[in-house]
């Protein structure tokens, strides 16, 4: 499949700002998807609300752009009603970690066969740059003009603790590693979670002295620390502190039986 067959060009132009990381993630996803030989007609993309959640609308396949935070719940229903379909969720830090946090942790626990890709740009981009659950401590947003006084969620660590089958975190600077991890998550059954720390130059970088997208990418490169160990919670990488370090790598790769296998296969209904 060619890159341009993957996208639904009728829907262009897209809504992403110049320098946005979403394009990088989409490109990495396309490569992984293509290498896997998956078929667009057998794949459904599910998302919530936000910049990253617009991605499914641009892909040339079935897509459902749901209410804010509910992508994983919708994907769960869809996958259980049609187990033969491949279901991929695109989400963001606000959609997944804040309003959809309950569905996220329960999704990891339930271990339905879903691939969840969270583009974490540390900010609510679409609404104009408000602090999110992953905005680093002391960073500026339109709702934290004196710097965020909260500490950020470590979404990957949360997924590990909640029981996801596969958990990895990369940044948009790690395109090869990210592509490999997405491919791995597509290969594996169960609930697989890939977090991508991504740049939002318009609404995050601009207010934090990194208006140039390349400044954000340089920052990702400098502050990334790889920790490729298959292991559960470890105190030293609980905090995702962009000011200090971004822990990247594959954190968990395990083979818990997924929801469907436990139930011995589900209902198949081709037609009614």
């Amino acid at each position: 499949m060619e890159l341009f067959d993957f996208y639904d060009q009728d829907r262009w132009p897209h809504v992403f700002c110049p320098g946005c990381g979403n394009g990088t993630v989409m490109n990495c996803f396309f490569r992984a998807f293509n290498e896997m030989g998956w078929k667009l007609d057998n794949t459904v993309f599910v998302s919530g609300i936000g910049c990253s959640s617009r991605i499914p609308l641009y892909i040339n396949s079935d897509a459902i752009h749901t209410t804010h935070g509910r992508a994983i719940a919708v994907a769960t229903g869809l996958k259980l009603s049609r187990p033969e379909l491949d279901v991929v969720v695109f989400t963001g830090d606000g959609d997944l970690g804040a309003i959809g946090g309950n569905h996220f942790i329960n999704g990891c626990r339930r271990n339905v066969d879903l691939d969840v890709i969270c583009i974490n740009n540390n900010i609510y981009g679409m609404t104009g740059g408000q602090a999110s659950v992953t905005t680093p401590h002391d960073y500026i947003s339109t709702t934290t003009p004196f710097g965020s006084k909260e500490y950020p969620f470590d979404l990957a660590e949360l997924a590990v603790a909640a029981g996801a089958n596969y958990v990895a975190r990369w940044t948009t600077r790690h395109v090869h590693e990210l592509t490999k991890s997405i491919k791995r998550s597509l290969e594996k059954k169960g609930f697989n979670f890939v977090e991508v720390v991504s740049q939002c130059p318009t609404n995050f970088g601009r207010r934090n002295k990194m208006a140039d997208p390349s400044a954000l990418l340089d920052w990702f490169k400098e502050s990334s620390v790889r920790r490729d160990k298959v292991r559960a919670a470890a105190i030293d990488h609980v905090d995702l502190n962009l000011a200090g370090q971004i822990t990247t790598g594959e954190f968990v790769c395990r083979d818990r039986e997924c929801y469907h296998e436990k139930k011995g296969g589900g209902a198949h209904r081709d037609g009614h």
Binding site: D8, D10, R11, L40, D41, N42, V44, V46, P56, L57, N60, S61, D62, A63, I64, H65, T66, T67, R70, A73, V74, A75, T76, G77, L78, K79, L80, S81, R82, E84, L85, N102, H103, N106, G266, A267, H268, R269, G271, H272
Partner: protein, 376 residues
């Protein structure tokens, strides 16, 4: 196997459970809440027996989201809840209306607001069913008043939800849900399946034109369907800032239900020529039914569907009678709608018997009110 034709002695919630399977339910997502829990409990064993899928989700928002997802997979989908859970589901109700997703929500109403009376009946969610989500939208809602109707109207809820691609409600209450009674399961039950895109089929669902209710593009069949709650064109291109696109979309979503009111609405009349007509529904109608059966001066219009508002039957009784008494188990919700229609139809007087607290109005209470009005 779905329940066999015959006579049964069942609880209202059990009748709903069996009806959903007869109607073709293939996916149910539930969360425990009194007084609807028996539906989830029943389906957790009945669905695996009938090639369906049951899941208990983490909250009611997840339940309604999951059934929306399952519906796009092509499965007839349902959830069951009560007041607090229903409040949580509201955003998704609007989403299902906007995306034309056929889903059935059973709301076994209990006393609110808030936790209120978990084990007691109420009709406090009638307006929330129609107006609870933001924006202009239409839903279909049925109001059963017996175990038999819990069965019949659940089947109808599925049929109309599929036919019009709209979220459809069974507005039951704790009284009906927990009541035990006789259920006759008929031999021939009419089942309607959604008009699927790319599938040609001589089906009565086709009597709704495509431009009013578009064919359903089930996922995984190569339709490349895009589903979004953002204002979109018929080809699913998002156009959130184009006034015309929004007017056309939301206009059609409302029209497809209100224009087909006559097809959807169900009601029953006792003593249509009486000078005084009681208008009621669900368990609030028990008292009025007793009075109407014994007193020639009093009749009853019992609404079996509440949304879209059954304007025609209300107008018809209002034109003939001298006064209306609306009987509801809330402090007056559908009353204002009924009053508006009745006054427009020339009825001079519309009164309200409002009773909250959980016990349906008794025949004595209805008579007392009628005496107060000076009509008996």
């Amino acid at each position: 196997m779905p329940i066999k034709p015959g006579e049964y002695f069942l609880q209202g919630n059990e009748a709903c459970t069996e009806a959903s399977i007869v109607a073709g339910l293939k996916f149910f997502a539930g969360y425990p809440i009194t007084p609807s829990t028996e539906i989830a409990e029943g389906l957790s064993s009945r669905l695996p027996q009938t090639n369906g899928e049951f899941i208990q989700m983490e909250d009611e928002i997840a339940c309604v989201s999951a059934i929306i997802g399952a519906s796009w997979g092509g499965a007839k989908s349902m959830t069951a809840t009560s007041g607090p859970g229903f409040s949580l589901m509201q955003e998704a109700v609007g989403y299902a209306a906007m995306t034309e997703t056929p889903i059935v929500i059973v709301n076994v109403m209990r006393g609110g607001p808030s936790t209120g009376q978990p084990t007691r009946a109420s009709q406090g969610d009638v307006m929330a069913t129609k107006y609870g989500s933001h924006g202009d939208y239409q839903v279909i809602a049925f109001a059963p008043a017996s175990v038999q109707e819990m069965f019949d109207l659940t089947v109808k809820a599925f049929n109309y939800s599929e036919k019009y691609r709209v979220p459809t409600f069974v507005l039951s209450d704790a009284e009906i849900g927990h009541m035990r009674g006789l259920l006759t399961v008929p031999k021939d039950i009419k089942i309607v399946n959604r008009k699927e895109k790319g599938v040609r089929r001589a089906d009565e669902a086709y009597d709704v034109p495509d431009d009013l209710v578009p064919a359903f593009p089930t996922f995984g069949k190569g339709h490349k369907a895009t589903v979004t709650g953002i204002t979109h064109t018929p080809k699913a291109r998002v156009e959130p800032e184009d006034p015309k696109v929004h007017q056309e979309l939301v206009g059609r979503l409302n029209d497809k239900i209100s224009a087909n009111r006559r097809d959807i609405n169900k009601w029953e009349v006792i003593g249509p020529d009486s000078k005084t007509m009681i208008v009621s529904y669900g368990s609030a109608s028990f008292g009025g039914r007793e009075v109407a059966a014994r007193d020639d001066r009093v009749g009853l219009l019992r609404l079996k569907s509440l949304w879209p508002l059954p304007v025609e039957p209300i107008r018809e009784v209002a034109e003939k009678c001298e006064q209306l008494l609306v009987c509801e188990m809330n402090l007056g919700q559908l009353f204002w709608e009924i009053k508006r229609v009745a006054l427009e139809a020339g009825c001079k007087r519309v009164e309200l018997l409002a009773k909250i607290g959980g016990a349906p109005p008794t025949p004595g209470e209805v008579r007392h009110k009628l005496r107060e009005m000076g009509v008996i």
